[in-house]
C-alpha cells in the first residue's frame, strides 16, 4: 500500500541522516585540537585559520581550491544555542509520550531532572555549561518572555475584581515572609553548633528577601488542570507576578545595606519611599507603553505583516526602560501587556492576533523550559557549601512563615471580600508557594563581597528542589483530596453572557438606589471613560462593542469553523487539497516502551563515549544532534506517521458528528 511505502521511506531517510552524522563525528578527534580551556569561561574555540584547518586534501599548499572546508568557530555560539533549545524542547516532547507522567509530575520537575542528568554528563567531561544564568542573560533575555506570557494571558475580569487581595498578598505577604524568615534565621545563626555566626543580620535579611520570591510556573499548570476556583487561581497568579516589586526593592536595599555597618532609620524610610517609586513607576511605565503601542497599531492597516512586531517591541521596551531606572520591570511589562491587549486586539487583523498569541505563548514556554533545564544543569556544575543546620532551618522556617502569613493575612482581608477564603483555600494558598528561577537568578548574582555566597547558593537550590519536587508533585493529590472549590469552566454561552450583563446592570442600579459605591461603580465609570475617550483615540474603528455582540460573533465564527474543520482546531493550509487523518496509537504498547528505553540507553552511551573520545565542544554539539536525530527516528516509529489520503472531489471532509 502507498501508506506503508511512505512510512518506510521516512524511516530510510532518517536512517541515512543518522548514519551520516555518525560518520561525521568519527574523524572529529583528529582534526580539532583544542587547548584546555580556562575554567569558568564559556566554550570559545580559538579562531581556526582555513589554511591550518581541516581540509579535504591536507597535503597541498594553498594552490588548490579546497572542495570541502569546515569552520566551526564561526557558527559556534548560535549553533550551540540552537542545539540546547532543541534538546530542551525534545525533552518536553518526550515527556508527553507517557501521559501518566505529566499527569502526576509537573513538567518543571521533569525538566530539572533531565537538566541534572545532562549536567552530570557535562561535569564528568569537565565542560562548562553555557553562561545562561548570568545576570544579564537571565534578566534581559530569559525572563521577559515568561512574564509577557503571564501578563498577556492573565484573565482581566477576575484580576480587577480581586486586585485588592492580590496586591495585599503580594506586597504585605512578601514583606512578612522576608522579615520573618530573616529575623528567625539570624536567631538560628546565633546557635554555635551550626557554625554560621559570621552571617550578620543584613545578610540574613538579604537572603530571606531572595528566598521569599514565589514562582508561579509549576503551581499554575496544576491549578489549570484541576480547574481550581478562579479566586484562588488569580490570587496565586497575581501574587507571584506582583511580588517582584517588593523583592527587587528589598534585594537592592539589603545589598546596599549589607556593606554598611549601621542602619539608620532614614534608610528604612527611604526604603519605603523607594518601594512606592518602584511599584508605581513600573505600573506607570507599563501603562504608558501600552497606550503608545495601542495608538501605533491604529495606523498599521497597511503593514499587516509586521503588526505583531509592535507588541513585542513595545513590551520589551517597557521592560528595558524600567530596568534602566531600576524599577520593577516585571510590573512594567505585565501592565503593558494588560493595557495593550484589549485595544490592540481590536486594531490588528485576525491573523496578526493569532500570530501574537501563538508567539507569546511559544516564547514563554521556551524560556520556561530552558530555565528549568539549566537550573538542573547548573546545580551540578557549581561549587556548593553544605551546612545541615542552616539549610534545614531555612526550609522549615520558609514553610512556617508562609503558612502563618497566609493565615493572618486572610483573616484581615476576608471581611472585605465577597467570597471569603475558607480554610481549604488558605491551605492551598500557603502550600502553593513554590520557589523557582527568580530566586535562583538573584542568588546567583549576589556580589562576591557576601562571604557565605556558596552557602546561600546551596540553600536556595535545596529550597527550589524541595518546593518544586515535593510540593509540586504532592499538590495535585492534595487538591483533589481536600476537595478545594472548583471553578466551572463554563463553556461560553450567549445565555450566560446576556444574563450576566443584565445582572451587572441590575446590581449597578440597585447600588445607586442604595446610595452606595462599590467596585461596580468604578467599573462603570471606567467603561464610560473608555468608551468616550480612550477608544476614540486608540482604536481605528471605534464603534463601542458590547461583550454580548463580541461573544456572539465569536461563537458564530466558531460554528462556521467547526463545519469546515476536520480533525483539530486549526484549519491546515493544505486542507483544501488533502485531508490528514492521524493514526493514534491507543496506548503505549510494550514494544514502544522497550524501544524508548533502548533509545535512552543507547543515546546516553553514545553521548558518553563520544565526548570522552573526542575533545569536548565540537563533539558535544555533534552528539547532541545525533541524539536528536535518534529521538526523531524513534518518535516516528512510536507514534505513527500521518497517513495522507487525497479526497477526490472537493477537499472538504463531511463534518464529524
Amino acid at each position: 500500500m502507498s501508506t506503508m511505502g511512505g512510512l518506510s521511506q521516512m524511516k530510510l531517510a532518517v536512517n541515512f541522516l543518522t548514519i551520516g552524522l555518525v560518520i561525521l563525528s568519527l574523524p572529529c578527534g583528529s582534526y580539532t585540537e583544542i587547548p584546555p580551556k580556562p575554567p569558568g569561561s564559556v566554550t570559545v574555540l580559538p579562531p581556526v585559520k582555513p589554511a591550518g584547518g581541516p581540509q579535504a586534501f591536507p597535503d597541498a599548499e594553498n594552490s588548490n581550491l579546497p572542495v570541502f572546508t569546515m569552520d566551526y568557530a564561526r557558527i559556534q555560539v548560535p549553533f550551540e544555542v540552537t542545539l540546547w533549545v532543541l534538546l530542551a524542547s525534545f525533552a518536553k516532547i518526550g515527556f508527553h509520550v507517557y501521559h501518566k507522567i505529566t499527569f502526576w509530575v509537573p513538567e518543571s520537575c521533569l525538566l530539572i531532572s533531565i537538566g541534572l542528568i545532562v549536567g552530570a554528563i557535562m561535569h564528568s567531561v569537565h565542560e562548562e555549561p553555557p553562561a545562561v544564568l548570568s545576570y544579564n542573560v537571565f534578566f534581559l533575555f530569559m525572563l521577559p518572555p515568561i512574564v509577557l506570557e503571564s501578563g498577556y494571558f492573565m484573565p482581566t475580569r477576575p484580576f480587577f475584581e480581586n486586585v485588592g487581595t492580590v496586591l495585599w498578598f503580594a506586597v504585605v505577604g512578601t514583606l512578612w515572609n522576608s522579615i520573618g524568615i530573616g529575623m528567625s534565621l539570624y536567631a538560628v545563626c546565633q546557635i554555635e553548633a551550626f557554625e554560621v555566626q559570621d552571617i550578620n543580620l543584613q545578610e540574613n535579611m538579604l537572603f530571606a528577601a531572595i528566598i521569599s520570591a514565589v514562582d508561579p510556573v509549576a503551581v499554575l499548570s496544576v491549578f489549570e488542570d484541576v480547574s481550581v476556583n478562579e479566586q484562588l487561581y488569580i490570587v496565586v497568579f497575581g501574587e507571584c507576578l506582583f511580588n517582584d516589586a517588593v523583592t527587587v526593592v528589598l534585594y537592592n536595599m539589603f545589598i546596599f545595606v549589607a556593606d554598611m555597618p549601621v542602619v539608620e532609620p532614614v534608610d528604612v524610610f527611604l526604603g519605603v519611599a523607594r518601594f512606592f517609586v518602584v511599584g508605581l513607576g513600573g505600573m506607570g511605565f507599563g501603562v504608558i507603553f501600552g497606550f503608545v503601542a495601542s495608538f501605533t497599531t491604529r495606523f498599521t492597516s497597511n503593514v499587516r505583516e509586521i503588526e505583531p512586531l509592535f507588541i513585542f517591541m513595545y513590551s520589551y521596551l517597557a521592560y528595558l526602560v524600567a530596568e534602566l531606572f531600576s524599577i520593577s520591570s516585571i510590573m512594567a511589562i505585565v501592565t503593558c501587556a494588560l493595557t495593550m491587549k484589549y485595544y490592540v486586539e481590536e486594531n490588528v487583523s485576525q491573523r496578526s492576533c493569532t500570530t501574537i498569541r501563538h508567539v507569546v505563548k511559544m516564547l514563554g514556554t521556551i524560556s520556561e523550559t530552558l530555565i528549568f533545564f539549566f537550573l538542573g544543569v547548573v546545580t551540578i556544575t557549581t561549587e556548593h557549601e553544605w551546612n545541615w543546620g542552616y539549610i534545614m532551618f531555612t526550609l522549615l522556617l520558609a514553610l512556617v512563615w508562609r503558612g502563618l502569613g497566609v493565615l493572618v493575612l486572610t483573616q484581615i482581608i476576608n471581611p472585605f471580600r465577597t467570597i471569603p477564603f475558607n480554610f481549604k483555600d488558605q491551605f492551598i494558598l500557603g502550600y502553593g508557594g513554590l520557589r523557582g528561577a527568580i530566586s535562583f537568578a538573584l542568588v546567583f548574582t549576589l556580589p562576591d563581597s557576601i562571604g557565605r555566597k556558596k552557602l546561600f547558593l546551596t540553600t536556595t537550590i535545596c529550597m527550589i528542589m524541595f518546593t518544586v519536587f515535593i510540593q509540586g508533585i504532592s499538590i495535585r493529590p492534595l487538591i483533589e483530596f481536600i476537595n478545594v472549590r472548583r471553578t466551572n469552566r463554563n463553556l461560553e454561552t450567549i445565555n450566560v453572557e446576556i444574563h450576566s450583563r443584565l445582572i451587572e446592570h441590575t446590581i449597578a442600579g440597585v447600588e445607586d438606589l442604595c446610595g452606595q459605591w462599590s467596585h461596580y461603580y468604578w467599573k462603570d465609570k471606567f467603561l464610560k471613560f473608555n468608551n468616550r475617550i480612550l477608544r476614540k483615540i486608540l482604536i481605528r474603528d471605534n464603534r463601542a462593542e458590547s461583550s454580548i455582540v463580541a461573544l456572539y460573533k465569536k461563537l458564530e465564527l466558531q460554528n462556521a469553523m467547526e463545519i469546515l474543520d476536520t480533525v483539530s482546531g486549526d484549519i491546515n493550509a493544505g486542507s483544501s487539497i488533502v485531508s490528514l487523518q492521524y493514526v493514534y496509537p491507543l496506548s503505549p504498547s510494550s514494544s514502544c516502551s522497550l524501544s524508548l528505553s533502548l533509545y535512552f540507553a543507547l543515546s546516553l552511551i553514545l553521548l558518553l563515549s563520544l565526548s570522552l573520545a573526542c575533545s569536548p565542544s565540537l563533539s558535544l554539539s555533534l552528539v547532541l544532534s545525533l541524539t536528536l536525530s535518534c529521538s526523531l527516528f524513534f518518535m516516528c516509529h512510536t507514534h505513527g506517521i500521518p497517513r495522507l489520503s487525497a479526497n477526490e472531489h472537493s477537499g472538504l471532509e463531511p463534518p464529524r458528528l
Binding site: 443584565l502 446592570h505 446590581i507 442604595c514 454580548i548
Partner: protein
C-alpha cells in the same frame, strides 16, 4: 444605640421585617435613612418619579425595569416594607443556616435571586421569556451598537441555546438551567448588605 432605637421604633413591624429579610438593625436604619432621603415629599411611600430622580439609575439601560420590580402589580407606590423586601434579595447568602425544608425559601437564596432576574425579563408575568421580551431587553442593553437583524440573530441564538422544550420561549426552569454553572450568589450580592 439611642438613635438607632429611636429610628427603629418609628418603623411599624420592624421585628417581623428583620426576621423575614435577615437584615440587622443597623442595616434597617441605613435603608430607612435612604428611603426618607428618596421620599422627598415625606408621604411614607415612594412613587416611580422618586426613583427616577436618581440620576445614574435613570441612565441605566434597564433602569426602568429595576424600578418596575419594586412595584407589585397594580400598586402605584412602594412602602418601606416592600422596599426592604426587594433589597433583601441582594444580601449575600447565609452559609450558616441549615437547610430547613419546612421553612419558606429565604429571600436571598439562589432561587429567589434567579426569580428576581427572571422577572426583569418577563414583564407580562406569564412565566416565560418570549422572543419579543428578550429582544426588548437586548435592544435596551445594546442600544446603538447593532442592527436590527443582528439583534434578531442574537435573540434567535439565545433561545435556541436555552430552549429545551422547543416552545420558542425560555421558561424559568430553562433559565435556571442555563445559569447552573454561574455563581449567582457572588454576582447578585451587594457586599455591604451582609
Amino acid at each position: 444605640m439611642g438613635s438607632t432605637n429611636s429610628t427603629l421604633s418609628k418603623i411599624p413591624n420592624v421585628e417581623e421585617l428583620m426576621q423575614e429579610t435577615g437584615f440587622t438593625p443597623a442595616h434597617i436604619v441605613r435603608l430607612y435613612d435612604r428611603f426618607e432621603a428618596l421620599d422627598k415629599e415625606k408621604t411614607g411611600h415612594l412613587r416611580p418619579q422618586d426613583f427616577g430622580a436618581i440620576n445614574r439609575l435613570a441612565m441605566n439601560p434597564i433602569g426602568d425595569r429595576i424600578i418596575g420590580a419594586f412595584f407589585s402589580p397594580g400598586q402605584e407606590t412602594v412602602d418601606f416594607h416592600s422596599f426592604v423586601r426587594i433589597l433583601a434579595h441582594f444580601r449575600p447568602a447565609d452559609k450558616k443556616h441549615p437547610k430547613d425544608p419546612s421553612m419558606p425559601e429565604p429571600v436571598n437564596s439562589r432561587t429567589s435571586k434567579l426569580k428576581f432576574a427572571f422577572q426583569l425579563y418577563d414583564q407580562d408575568k406569564d412565566g416565560k421569556i418570549s422572543r419579543a421580551e428578550l429582544l426588548q431587553v437586548l435592544r435596551s442593553m445594546l442600544e446603538m451598537q447593532v442592527t436590527e437583524e443582528q439583534l434578531e440573530s442574537i435573540a434567535d441564538r439565545t433561545i435556541q441555546e436555552a430552549d429545551l422544550d422547543k416552545d420558542d420561549a425560555i421558561s424559568f426552569e430553562e433559565f435556571r438551567k442555563s445559569l447552573e454553572k454561574v455563581n449567582i450568589d457572588h454576582k447578585m450580592s451587594i457586599r455591604f448588605l451582609r
